[in-house]
């Protein structure tokens, strides 16, 4: 395939709006190619979008669907010769997820939290999502084996468990949600800060986070730890955020990337002592990121309208449901974590919601380096992902922000810095925040750029970057980003002007990390005991089978022990 004459933004390769032809051969970007030609003359061209944090598959998502038939009724689209039928807005059915991302020019999305024990469910759903390449992050932050390894200061065994857990869940990276809190929630309690002891386990969240970060780097995983802070969603929690970030300053990255990615930063950038004096600490957080380079964040942008909050932070969802008198689903997983789901509506005249909305924008606009701050709405927690064009339009246009500020609760003017922010992002910023940045943060080498050998994932938009002024023409920007002129996935034209033309299956990424045999053996003896005594299923039925990943893309990491090599001399054993 040849894409002719587009204005290409490929910041990972230092290309900032150059007129270029693109060639895709065998599903990858090439120097020349045969086949059909697409005319993109003068149009905006970027790599396919990459969403690094979105709740798209698994028990939480399906619980959201089951408890919200009202939501499923929104967004109903009948089947057609190419597409299965679609339902839902905040909790779309599996088909709608694939088609709607593809319509916007997105070709990759990662599920943000899956417990090992029910990862099979997650993969059952990921398999059903058409078009997208995907992966799932695996929950480790309240896992008994993790807590015990941390308590015993046995980093080698912890790394062995992380490797085993990723393989068991066919997971891509280490997700930590309210570390220790999920275990405490098993008896209805929570941890209140970094140095609060997890009941019955004699460890603190600080120790859990630091140990998992070190284990992550010992294994050289493509992604860093992916962290949902303690105290998320509470007024005054920005101090927990900064305290936690400081904790990780000393950890050495094993790859050219951050040592910690902060999930949905907006929900942890709150000041105030309670809801009455609730205020933004977005500027303080952005300032921290401007001064440090060991961490990245995604926005977790809130937009006004319906959302369905879902997270492994079980106590947070309980608190949400009581605060909002909303219906509440909870699911705690034996030995591993908790989770909850609560639907809500963000109102522009609600002071707290309006401030939350502003914080997301502050974080993006005040963090100078777009490689450190990528765009998400923490779908569907802050808003459904179909609203990404709205976020981009807000980031690119101060007039649009001013129009919005005039309609939201007036406290935005006194409790946030948003009205003073002049910055208007350009297409390079946007290409970084929605493509190059998330791919680099996840460690996806073939995604988020258009260099030779990259995946043939390309988005062409009905926008002429040389002619329009996004600041003034923000409505045009928003409309064009919602329906890509062309979305190309792996060299196949999958969508044109919002119409899905084909729906090939995507691939699932997972990480297979090797560890020293001695550590693996120590671990397995311990796990066998856990399964005999505590788990309610057998170890032989636990691991996700290959049958659930029909198009795998396995990334190797950890110790790649070659035959005949002295295993004990490996880095893992030495560092331990």
């Amino acid at each position: 395939m040849i894409i002719r004459g587009g204005i290409v933004y490929d910041p990972a390769n230092g290309i900032y709006g150059e007129e270029m032809d693109l060639f895709i051969e065998g599903g990858r970007i090439a120097e020349e190619a045969a086949g059909p030609e697409l005319d993109a003359s003068g149009l905006l061209v970027m790599p396919g979008g990459v969403d690094a944090h979105s709740h798209i598959a698994g028990t939480k998502v399906n619980t959201g669907r089951i408890m919200r038939p009202d939501d499923s009724r929104m967004g109903t689209e009948p089947r057609n010769p190419v597409c299965r039928p679609c339902t839902g807005y905040t909790v779309p059915n599996c088909y709608a997820i694939g088609y709607r991302y593809a319509r916007m020019g997105y070709t990759t999305a990662f599920e943000a939290a899956t417990p090992i024990i029910n990862a099979r469910h997650t993969h059952e759903e990921l398999e059903e999502i058409p078009i997208l390449d995907k992966g799932a992050l695996t929950l480790f932050g309240s896992n008994w084996t993790v807590l015990e390894c941390v308590r015993d200061k046995d980093l080698a065994k912890l790394a062995a468990y992380v490797a085993w857990g990723l393989r068991a869940s066919r997971g891509y990276g280490v997700k930590i949600v309210n570390p220790g809190g999920g275990e405490a929630w098993g008896f209805g309690a929570n941890v209140k800060g970094l140095y609060d002891t997890v009941p019955n386990f004699d460890v603190t969240p600080a120790e859990i986070i630091e140990s998992l970060a070190k284990a992550n780097e010992m294994l050289g995983l493509p992604h860093s730890i992916h962290l949902h802070f303690n105290n998320l969603g509470k007024p005054g929690n920005y101090t927990t955020a900064i305290e936690t970030l400081d904790l990780l300053k000393g950890v050495q990255a094993s790859r050219m990337r951050q040592v910690v990615h902060i999930a949905h930063m907006q929900f942890s950038a709150y000041g105030g002592t309670g809801w009455k004096d609730f205020e933004s600490k977005g500027p303080a957080i952005a300032d921290y990121f401007n001064r440090h380079s060991h961490a990245t964040m995604d926005l977790g942008m809130v937009l006004f309208g319906p959302a369905t909050t879902m997270t492994a932070d079980g106590p947070l969802e309980y608190a949400n449901s009581r605060l909002l008198h909303a219906k509440w689903a909870n699911c705690d997983y034996e030995l591993e974590d908790s989770s909850g789901v609560v639907p809500l509506v963000y109102g522009r005249k609600m002071p707290i919601n309006a401030i939350q909305w502003a914080i997301g924008l502050e974080l993006a606009l005040m963090t100078k380096d777009p490689w450190k701050v990528i765009m998400t709405t923490d779908h569907p927690n802050g808003a459904p992902f179909v609203n990404y064009p709205e976020v981009i339009a807000l980031l690119m246009s101060r007039p649009k922000r001013e129009e919005e500020i005039a309609t939201v609760h007036e406290l935005v003017k006194s409790r946030t810095a948003l009205p003073t922010l002049e910055r208007e992002m350009d297409w390079t910023d946007i290409a970084v925040m929605t493509r190059a940045g998330p791919a680099r943060i996840l460690g996806l080498e073939d995604k988020g750029h258009l260099g030779k050998g990259a995946d043939g994932d390309v988005a062409v938009y009905n926008l002429r970057p040389d002619e329009i002024d996004p600041s003034r023409d923000h409505a045009l920007v928003k409309a064009a980003l919602a329906k890509a002129r062309y979305t190309i996935k792996g060299g196949t034209l999958v969508a044109r002007d919002g119409e899905i033309l084909s729906a090939p299956p995507g691939r699932t990424y997972w990480v297979d990390a090797g560890v020293a045999e001695a550590d693996a053996n120590r671990l397995m003896a311990d796990l066998k005991d856990k399964f005999d005594r505590y788990y309610s299923i057998q170890i032989s039925n636990y691991m996700v089978q290959d049958a659930y990943i029909s198009h795998p893309n396995v990334i190797r990491a950890g110790l790649q022990v070659r035959e005949g090599e002295d295993r004990s001399s490996h880095a893992l054993a030495r560092e331990a």
Binding site: M67, T76, N118, G186, W328, S540
Partner: protein, 427 residues
């Protein structure tokens, strides 16, 4: 001996069975309850596909039966595809695709089982946990309107009353077990406390408990549905003082007067108890994969049961798109029944309506529905003769094993052949 085999009987989905296989047949099942062992051993198989001609079922080939099934579904204006709880999720997904292709209504056995519970969850959500959480943590277990001693025989030992775990090393002796029911069942006899309800008074009793929990005991009358207030106050105190409490509820709650409102009320009670202590709640699902069809349907359509595809897009309105209502209104004009037996379980008038329309049955075993079927297609037994996926009552997703080869095609393969025929006939 095959180890760690999953039991394809009830919603416990036990995964620790040992099965002896010799000469291509299951010889012995170890570690299962009697219900599970008898299911896996098998009985009275349907031997060949059959098509009814002149009122008599006559042998046919799979080609003929699948073609006839496709023709029936295509000729119908309002076909219903029903069952799905005792087969694999892979078959269920094919069923959804077939329903989309023929514009049918996809409904499951939940509709006559825990359907009201699902409506209750739509109203209130559900504060749940996996069965392993109960095993490791629960010191108070309440069975409300269910009788696991007879319906889920290994539940107590594996997951609940008698299970030992990290924080429950004493098992049964460290726990309080309470049963709420209208009669003294075997489960009630094994309980520490039995609350006997007058049939149909669940709603009143739960409401009174919520009042007491909310500090409004003074306005609760001295007796509620025949139970003395003091007993209810005492029960609520026990609940509040538990370290980890759980209510398992069954059809005694969901199908007595009040139906989904009972469940709604119970879910609210549990949510409110969390202000005092940890409390969770779970439906005692019946068939081994009835939870799975709900999950698969929700993922594919947004709704867990009773989905009408006649408009091309999923539409869900229980009472309208539920199979018993469609049959009662004489709206359904064909039915595909898979892994279920509506002739035994539906109300009489609906069975009569079913008998009047063409019925396709896919099942390994003969059952009363076979008597009114027009096309009968025998299939391999999922979890014995075919692999696949099933979800336990707590949502735990597990892989069914294939133990022996079978001369019969799987449900999934049969449905694919019907889909192929539908596409061929339409083209």
């Amino acid at each position: 001996m095959t180890e760690d085999v999953l039991c394809t009987f009830c919603g416990c989905l036990c995964d620790d069975l040992r099965v002896e296989v010799a000469d291509g047949r299951v010889q012995k099942v170890r570690g299962a309850c009697r219900l599970g062992a008898s299911k896996i051993m098998g009985h009275d198989r349907i031997k060949t596909p059959m098509i009814r001609e002149d009122g008599v079922l006559r042998e046919a080939t799979y080609d003929q039966a699948c073609a006839r099934a496709a023709q029936i579904l295509l000729e119908a204006k309002r076909p219903v595809l029903y069952g799905w709880a005792s087969t694999s999720c892979e078959a269920d997904r094919k069923g959804i695709l077939l329903a989309e292709e023929v514009g049918g209504v996809m409904d499951t056995t939940a509709t006559v089982c825990h359907g009201p519970s699902i409506l209750g969850i739509e109203e209130k959500g559900l504060a749940g946990a996996t069965l392993g959480q109960v095993k490791n943590r629960a010191d108070l277990i309440i069975f409300w309107g269910c009788n696991p001693a007879e319906a889920h025989p290994r539940h107590a030992l594996r997951y609940s009353s008698n299970a030992c775990g990290r924080f429950t090393p004493e098992g049964r002796s460290g726990r309080k077990v309470m049963v709420v029911d209208v009669r003294e069942t075997r489960s009630a006899k094994n309980a520490d406390k039995f609350l006997r309800l007058i049939p149909g008074t669940d709603y009143e009793v739960i409401s009174a408990m919520r009042m007491i929990l909310g500090g409004k005991a003074d306005v609760v009358p001295e007796t509620v549905a025949g139970l003395p207030k003091t007993q209810l106050v005492e029960t609520v105190e026990i609940m509040k003082n538990a370290r980890f409490g759980v209510i398992f509820f069954g059809l005694g709650m969901t199908h007595s007067r009040g139906r989904y409102k009972n469940v709604d009320n119970a879910l609210s009670l549990v949510a409110e108890l969390n202000a005092f202590t940890k409390f969770v709640v779970m439906a005692m699902r019946g068939h081994y994969n009835v939870a799975g069809i709900g999950q698969v349907m929700a993922c594919a359509s947004g709704y867990p049961m009773s989905v009408d595809y006649s408009r091309g897009a999923p539409y869900f309105n229980p009472g309208e798109t539920t199979i018993c209502d469609l049959l009662n209104r004489k709206e359904a004009d064909a039915a595909l029944v898979i892994a279920a037996d509506p002739a035994s379980n539906f109300p009489r008038s609906t069975v009569e309506a079913l008998a009047e329309v063409p019925v396709i049955q896919i099942d390994p075993f003969e059952n009363p529905t076979t008597l009114l079927a027009d096309v009968v297609i025998p299939s391999a037994i999922a979890g014995v003769e075919a692999e696949g996926t099933a979800y336990r009552m707590d949502g735990m997703c597990l892989r069914l094993r294939k133990l022996v080869d079978s001369e019969f095609p799987s449900d999934e393969a049969i449905l694919q052949r019907i889909i192929d025929n539908v596409r061929r006939l339409r083209a």
